[in-house]
Subunit: 260 residues, 2 copies
């Protein structure tokens, strides 16, 4: 029985009237079903920022779940930054509606190609011996064969970026036509490669005459540069990229979460 005497306690009311539909026959885990429905409730404003979630014991008995299962669902949303737990207080919805985390920032952007807005022209798709820096980044022997990919990214018909990517030659076959229609990222996933982490360095410098010409900028214009090594779920490097963006038309936008 909740204390519904004052307005201060009303924060929990929203959840009381919520009922979650859990399908035990479904292959999707119960904690995940609960997490998704909680997330949806938060996203749709049914659970407003600051709302208390009610204690875990009540919630678990009400849902017919064990407490660890409910905790697992809640924890996943805490990890996403949607909920906050406070010992002795409760679990509440985070105040600022931080939108979609965008997860891998430009990573998907850069590797994708399909989609409405941006298009990508494959300028070069070959194999060549690895230079020292490429070999180091991909953890292969210097001089061993690697895939080199040069692409030009356009939005609204305007050049935005020069993308140069290197991949281990043994990783997959890259058909240029499929590459332009499907995107590198999807082709990697199809080949059973799941990206897991990436290390990025973002800097800036002035455009050379050649870069300026290719990007339709003035010589000396500010460019954003990015170097990235991406790793699969076993920690093996699967992609090394050196990208150049027109600063006048592109910026990196991402969210950081602090792990406690």
């Amino acid at each position: 029985m909740a204390k519904t005497g004052g307005t201060a306690r009303a924060a929990t009311a929203a959840l009381d009237s919520l009922d979650f539909a859990l399908d035990r026959g479904s292959p999707v885990p119960l904690y995940y079903q609960l997490a998704q429905q909680l997330e949806a409730a938060i996203e749709h404003g049914v659970l407003a920022p600051g709302n208390l979630l009610g204690n875990e014991i009540d919630l678990s008995t009400r849902l017919g779940l064990s407490r660890p299962t409910v905790r697992q669902a809640i924890q996943s949303l805490v990890d996403k930054g949607l909920l906050v737990r406070r010992r002795g207080v409760g679990t509440q919805v985070v105040h600022s509606q931080v939108k979609r985390p965008l997860e891998l920032s430009s990573l998907y952007d850069d590797l994708e190609s399909a989609g409405q807005g941006p298009t990508t022209q494959v300028v070069r798709n070959e194999r060549e011996p690895a230079s020292p820096d490429v070999a180091a980044a991909l953890a292969v022997a210097e001089g061993s064969e690697v895939i080199v990919l040069d692409r030009l990214r356009l939005t609204h018909g305007q050049p935005v970026a020069l993308l140069c990517n290197h991949l281990p030659a043994t990783l997959l076959d890259l058909d240029t036509a499929r590459l332009e229609s499907t995107g590198l990222y999807r082709m990697m996933r199809t080949a059973g490669i799941t990206l897991h982490s990436a290390r990025q360095t973002i800097g800036a410098r002035s455009a050379t005459a050649e870069e300026a010409a290719r990007l339709d900028e003035e010589e000396g214009a500010a460019l954003l540069t990015m170097q990235r090594t991406a790793y699969d779920d076993t920690g093996r490097p699967v992609e090394y990229g050196t990208h150049i963006y027109r600063a006048s038309r592109y910026a990196f936008d991402f969210q950081l979460l602090v792990r406690p």
Copy 2:
């Protein structure tokens, strides 16, 4: 009993000889003690990349812990990107030794001030009415009082960055002397504010004449720009920063983890 017949199985051997010292009297959780010691073993190379960790059941009985506790320890390292779990296979150390994740990239850097290398001069530390963009970022009323902080970051006596930060006026008191010796980040922590997440936009542009003069660059030199809003653990914005870095002396370097 492990099958120690072949060399292929030797991967587990390293762990067998490891013994972990768990202190049940300590206030630090058992799963955390285990996680720290596993991480140390990985860092020191006792557990080499690719090594299997041995199954969770054995590990738990050997350590005198329950399986969920062991799983919690392992999971925390999986989240850090140090371990990989594969159903039907086992848990193994990730191949690439991805160094310290650096977590919040330049966030701590920018907010810190103490330390040997970089120093920070507080150029301005005042309160003023919030401009529209500042008010929006900090979720306060337009025109309400906010703290404005202008700082100059130096390394080796050379200017590196112009840092402009805005904070809600009610958040804390910023003594300039303490600010230069302690750093903004530590002062916020001391005030009970724990950073939780941040939203960043990184771009580039050419230096104006004034910026060039203050940063000891040529006019038109490439600059890195960064805008950030940082949130505490309740999701309230606690800091809004507009920073300018000399691209010739500074780059952002960070690691991204893909959440599965």
